[in-house]
């Protein structure tokens, strides 16, 4: 027993408490937040699983289309939603995915450059920025110019993610210089800050405002036309289920898929 300290530095409870802490630390450090990455659970022994990596802004619509696809083909659709740049990283690092739907061409290009895109990429929808404000609009925001005021607390998306890049384009083209209180890591996080009333406004996609419900009001602004976001989708080279992946792209670009998408606020290209 080489341990010279007779006193135990920790009561047992701490040692026990440290275990979940360590696990939590590991878990948070390991995966950041990749929702829906839990394999979907009940594989029904169909012809396989389709793994779709999609931008966070597609969460609701792809969820709905996923259910339809599962009924139609009798397979399980695993959806992994995150920031497009994060997904591009994951795919290039060899994450198992069949289809990638990006919220901007830049991140699809990153994947294509590594030779991970099979065949053609298709632009299947467009998305446009709007100003989101809390339902009571505490700062009385009416147009883009209002966001440049010093006393208006604004959340923007981080420039690394598509909605942030689009916001920068809008600011450059319009000459409106917004001084943000925070640069959120994805569009949903920015919107959440509006929903909670912690910021006076945020620049987010129209689709996200529509998904947010009653607590958020959206304001259209003409400058947004300068930064319309194209959403490309493509089957990936490493796809384990290339045929299912093709089917998914077909569903998303079909009239049925487009109807679901436009209902959610996307525009048909």
């Amino acid at each position: 027993m080489p341990d010279p300290t007779p006193r135990r530095p920790f009561p047992l409870s701490v040692t026990l408490a440290a275990v979940p802490v360590a696990v939590a630390v590991l878990a948070t450090a390991a995966c950041g937040d990749v929702p829906g990455d839990d394999g979907g659970g009940d594989a029904e022994g169909g012809s396989g699983n389709l793994r779709v990596f999609a931008a966070a802004s597609l969460t609701d619509v792809f969820g709905e289309l996923g259910e339809r696809f599962e009924e139609e083909h009798g397979v399980t659709v695993d959806l992994n939603f995150a920031g497009s740049s994060e997904l591009a990283q994951q795919i290039n690092e060899g994450a198992p995915a069949d289809v990638f739907a990006s919220a901007n061409p830049a991140n699809m290009d990153l994947v294509a450059e590594e030779g991970n895109v099979a065949g053609e990429e298709t632009v299947f929808v467009e998305n446009i920025l709007e100003i989101a404000v809390p339902a009571d609009n505490p700062a009385g925001v009416e147009e883009l110019d209002d966001l440049a005021a010093d006393d208006v607390v604004v959340a923007l998306c981080s420039p690394e993610v598509p909605c942030g890049a689009a916001s920068e384009t809008v600011m450059e083209d319009s000459g409106v210089d917004i001084d943000p209180a925070t640069l959120e890591e994805d569009v949903r996080a920015a919107l959440t800050k509006v929903e909670l009333g912690e910021v006076d406004a945020a620049l987010v996609y129209r689709t996200d405002v529509m998904a947010a419900g009653e607590s958020v009001v959206s304001i259209e602004f003409p400058e947004a036309e300068e930064a319309v976001n194209d959403y490309p989708i493509a089957v990936l080279t490493e796809a384990a289920e290339p045929d299912l992946a093709e089917e998914w792209v077909r569903l998303v670009t079909s009239d049925e898929g487009q109807a679901v998408l436009t209902d959610a606020g996307f525009r048909t290209p």
Binding site: M1, P2, D3, P4, T5, P6, R7, R8, P9, F10, P11, S13, V14, A17, P20, V21, A24, V25, T28, A29, G32, D33, G83, S85, E86, Q89, V153, A155, S158, P159, E160, V161, P180, A181, T182, L183, E184, E185, A189, K193, L196, G197, E198, V199
Partner: protein
């Protein structure tokens, strides 16, 4: 600093001491293999960081203003958070270890909750309490026009919330393990409770306090979830090292690796400084 005749824990005296050292050749494979897997699993990611590090551009990347800002902000906020935790946490630990009051058990449980809850949840809770429309925060905003979220204050608050429990628990443990006879002797000599605490108790548990402070500082430095939720992400104001790593990973992985290396180096320094204390014979 520690008393010369420490009270031994009961289980330390009842357990028979067996100094049988196992010779290497006798280690059963059934233990050896999983142990090796465990070691590999823990070491490989770190090796990956080192192997993939952009050594050639390391210097220039470290000197980038964003990196410097994030590092300085992290070191500063973690230090302030630790000082606040000391000022509040040591008395709290003393209260839990040395006094009895109704509901003490529940207070102790509540204090340790932030240790086991996911940090993101902590961030949400902080936002709902101290945000502009939070339970407490709305009054701050109404009366003073002051809002905590998205400020450096919010970063420190998030760090104190997740890290202070570590300090409280380790100081409380040290207090419970300390020899009470010294305090009793001081009391019979007429010292007041405050004097006893300052002149007898605190010097005795100082190693425990120091260890707790280091642990608290390390946890504050690594804080991510609560910070990004409650304080947001703004370079120079609320963008700490872990958040900078996360954001850089989305655009410039090489910079993210450099930032990670810096944090890893800091962790190693902490580990070496604590080695004697908790992981003897490393």
């Amino acid at each position: 600093m520690s008393p010369r005749h420490p009270v031994r824990h009961p289980e330390a005296t009842t357990r028979p001491r067996r100094d049988v050292s196992i010779r290497a050749g006798r280690v059963p494979w059934v233990l050896m293999l999983p142990a090796l897997v465990g070691v590999l699993f823990l070491v490989l990611p770190l090796a990956g960081l080192l192997i993939r590090a952009p050594w050639g551009t390391l210097g220039t990347r470290l000197l980038m203003p964003e990196v410097r800002d994030a590092l300085l902000l992290s070191l500063g906020t973690a230090t302030v958070a630790t000082l606040i935790s000391l000022a509040v946490g040591v008395p709290l630990a003393w209260l839990l270890a040395r006094t009895t009051f109704p509901g003490r058990r529940y207070v102790r449980a509540l204090v340790t909750v932030p240790m086991v809850m996911p940090p993101v949840v902590g961030g949400v809770a902080l936002l709902l309490a101290f945000g502009r429309r939070g339970v407490v925060g709305q009054h701050l905003y109404e009366w003073f026009g002051y809002q905590i979220p998205f400020t450096t204050v919010a970063v420190v608050a998030a760090q104190v919330f997740v890290a202070m429990p570590f300090l409280v628990i380790s100081v409380e443990g040290a207090l419970r393990g300390a020899d009470r006879r010294y305090e009793e002797a001081a009391a019979t000599l007429g010292a007041t409770r405050a004097v006893i605490f300052r002149r007898v108790t605190l010097p005795m548990v100082l190693p425990g306090v120091a260890a707790g402070a280091v642990l608290c500082w390390a946890r504050a430095l690594g804080e991510f979830g609560a910070t990004i939720t409650f304080a947001g992400n703004l370079p120079g104001v609320t963008q700490t090292m872990p958040i900078a790593v996360y954001v850089a990973m989305q655009s410039d992985p090489a910079s993210a690796i450099v930032l990670s290396l810096v944090l890893l180096a800091v962790s190693l320094v902490i580990l070496t400084s604590l080695r004697e204390k908790w992981i003897g014979g490393l």
